[in-house]
């Protein structure tokens, strides 16, 4: 008797609920040297922009208690190069490819969505309106419900691909942003992006990061992320990809029980490159041990108990 792990994220059919958090898994080929990418339910690739970006000065990361700060600054080769150089590699896998996009203006986002719509081999778009590490765009859109909705309306018009909106925890009410983007045509939500933070090196008496501030991720942020999923699940009827500090199946199940349909592994990949596969195997084991036949039974179950 088999168990059903397949999920649907706003039209993207995933054979299991485990995917990768954008920016922590490159374009796939890097970890493809360690694990079999075909095990993943989907892959979310590094954030892409219209033009290539150099990223921020170093140091770009700092370790913190059970977490890390990063200020990569959306370094990427630009969408055209991504389509030409990186996408063909992923087409060889049986794996929906979700492309994370970021822009300085509403038009950038819409253009990116249009380009990816025509690229072929892209299963969905994740709109990053929550990057804390760039001066323009990013969080500027994600922290104001109206601007967020404006971005999503334009992306929606530019593509027929499923649109996932990546939400920031650096806001007064994540629910307010979620409700607005749902109304603007989002097909799914992903949360959370990193929490804005910083660290100071007391020896040099200076900020550790070249960019001064950066985004906090890893196990340290998990309770904040689980809370965000819980609140948004209650308010909005869109499928959620939950992420923030997931290292093992137990962590992932917390998100699923809080209301996430799928989960993404981020920082944990750096620590344990097999984390995605281990999360998947652990979920399967949990379901078998507890007589659960369909992963859907677990989604949001904590709200019903």
């Amino acid at each position: 008797m088999g168990i059903n792990l397949a999920v649907n994220i706003g039209g993207i059919k995933m054979k299991n609920p485990v995917t990768t958090a954008s920016g922590t898994f490159g374009f796939g080929s890097e970890y493809g040297r360690i694990i079999d990418l075909n095990r993943l339910g989907a892959i979310v690739v590094k954030g892409t922009t219209l033009l290539p970006r150099e990223g921020n000065p170093t140091p770009r990361i700092a370790e913190t208690p059970s977490g890390m700060l990063n200020a990569i600054g959306l370094q990427n080769p630009g969408v055209d190069s991504f389509i030409r150089e990186a996408l063909p590699f992923l087409r060889d896998y049986d794996l929906p490819v979700i492309v994370n996009i970021a822009g300085d203006t509403v038009e950038d986002y819409a253009k990116l969505a249009g380009i990816l719509d025509r690229a072929g081999g892209v299963a969905g778009i994740e709109v990053n309106i929550s990057c804390p590490n760039v001066k323009k765009g990013g969080l500027q859109f994600g922290s104001d419900p109206e601007s967020a909705a404006e971005v999503i309306r334009n992306v929606r018009q530019a593509t027929s691909l499923p649109v996932i909106v990546k939400l920031s925890p650096n806001v007064t009410s994540i629910v307010a942003v979620a409700e607005k983007v749902a109304g603007a045509g989002a097909d799914a939500l992903s949360m959370i992006n990193t929490l804005l933070g910083m660290a100071i090196d007391i020896k040099s008496r200076r900020p550790v990061l070249g960019n001064i501030m950066g985004g906090l991720s890893g196990p340290a942020v998990r309770p904040v992320a689980v809370r965000a999923v819980w609140q948004v699940y209650q308010a909005v009827k869109l499928p959620i990809i939950g992420m923030g500090g997931i290292t093992c199946a137990a962590d992932a199940l917390e998100f699923i029980m809080a209301g996430a349909t799928a989960v993404a592994v981020g920082t944990a990949n750096f620590v344990n490159p097999r984390a995605t596969v281990e999360v998947l195997e652990g979920i399967e084991r949990f379901m078998a041990e507890n007589g659960i036949k369909d992963i859907a039974e677990l989604v949001g179950i904590a709200h019903r108990c």
Partner: protein, 287 residues
């Protein structure tokens, strides 16, 4: 679906030895036949220091040496902070989670080239593997050589620099036949009094001929070597250090400045996957 030649191993390996040959430094030996078999000089390992999530990230440590026939892999590390301190507590027989081999590694010299290898402090660690490989090549070829001139070429100059002498003698004792060691200390306690680059510069001024330089060490030393080599038209490679997250090219945290196409500016490359070894003349040190 994973290409065997591109495979990166991620596994727990048994510790065969973790001793302290010099105060504050450790020589750790692992039984890791898969990694030892495919490893190249200049490549590194990404080591998990704790089973918990704090400290969270792995620590990059170079491959110091290998013994392929026995499947052994050596690391030589300085106890620098929390992660490396935790490593010192690991005992023989315990296991340690290692990811590798990572990075590109050095390009070996062409037959007959005169080579100088330059290590500053703990930066010397990966150079022993390089020296071992170059000498093995030379000895293999040496079997067919007889005349004087050829024997002169069967040598390699290894320049070792450190703040003070305590680290150097034990490093020196590792070396094999045919390696000429030159030592420099900042305080003059052992060998040349001054920087290792100063010593190399002196030898070059005294007509020592060098075709190729390999260097690893602190950033100011690498910069000095880069300038010196460019000025004298000597080819070679440098191994850089940057803070690392993933170690495999996925997170883009280990950015280092590499000259752009026209040479008037820089572009970021990644120490873990494009490096850690870069060609002399390639690294951007600003104007």
């Amino acid at each position: 679906m994973i290409h065997p030649e591109k495979r990166i191993h991620c596994k727990k390996y048994r510790i065969v030895q973790n001793e302290e040959p010099v105060p504050g430094h450790r020589l750790m030996c692992l039984h890791a036949p898969e990694i030892a078999a495919g490893a190249k000089p200049g490549q590194f390992l990404h080591v998990r220091c704790a089973d918990s999530t704090d400290p969270l990230l792995r620590r990059p440590i170079s491959i110091h040496r290998v013994r392929r026939d026995e499947g052994l892999l050596f690391m030589f590390y300085r106890v620098a902070g929390r992660g490396t301190s935790l490593l010192t507590a690991k005992r023989e027989g315990e296991e340690i989670d290692v990811l590798g081999p990572l990075g590109n590694g050095f390009e070996l010299p062409s037959p007959g080239e005169r080579v100088a290898v330059v290590g500053g402090g703990i930066g010397a660690a990966p150079l022993f593997f390089l020296v071992d490989e170059i000498m093995a090549e030379i000895h293999k070829r040496g079997a067919d050589l007889t005349d004087e001139q050829d024997t002169a070429r069967q040598a390699l100059d290894f320049y070792l620099g450190a703040a003070t002498g305590s680290l150097l003698p034990s490093l020196n004792s590792f070396l094999v036949r045919g390696v000429r060691v030159h030592m420099a200390t900042d305080d003059g306690s052992v060998g040349y009094h001054g920087t290792v680059t100063g010593l190399l510069q002196q030898h070059l001024d005294e007509q020592t001929h060098i075709d190729r330089i390999y260097a690893c060490g602190p950033a100011p030393m690498l910069r000095a070597i880069d300038e010196l080599a460019i000025r004298r038209g000597i080819r070679g490679q440098l191994s850089l250090e940057e803070r690392m997250g993933c170690g495999v090219g996925a997170c883009l945290s280990c950015a280092c400045k590499i000259k752009n196409f026209s040479g008037d500016g820089f572009t970021y490359k990644h120490a873990c996957s494009d490096g850690p070894v870069f060609n002399i003349g390639e690294v951007w040190y600003g104007h």
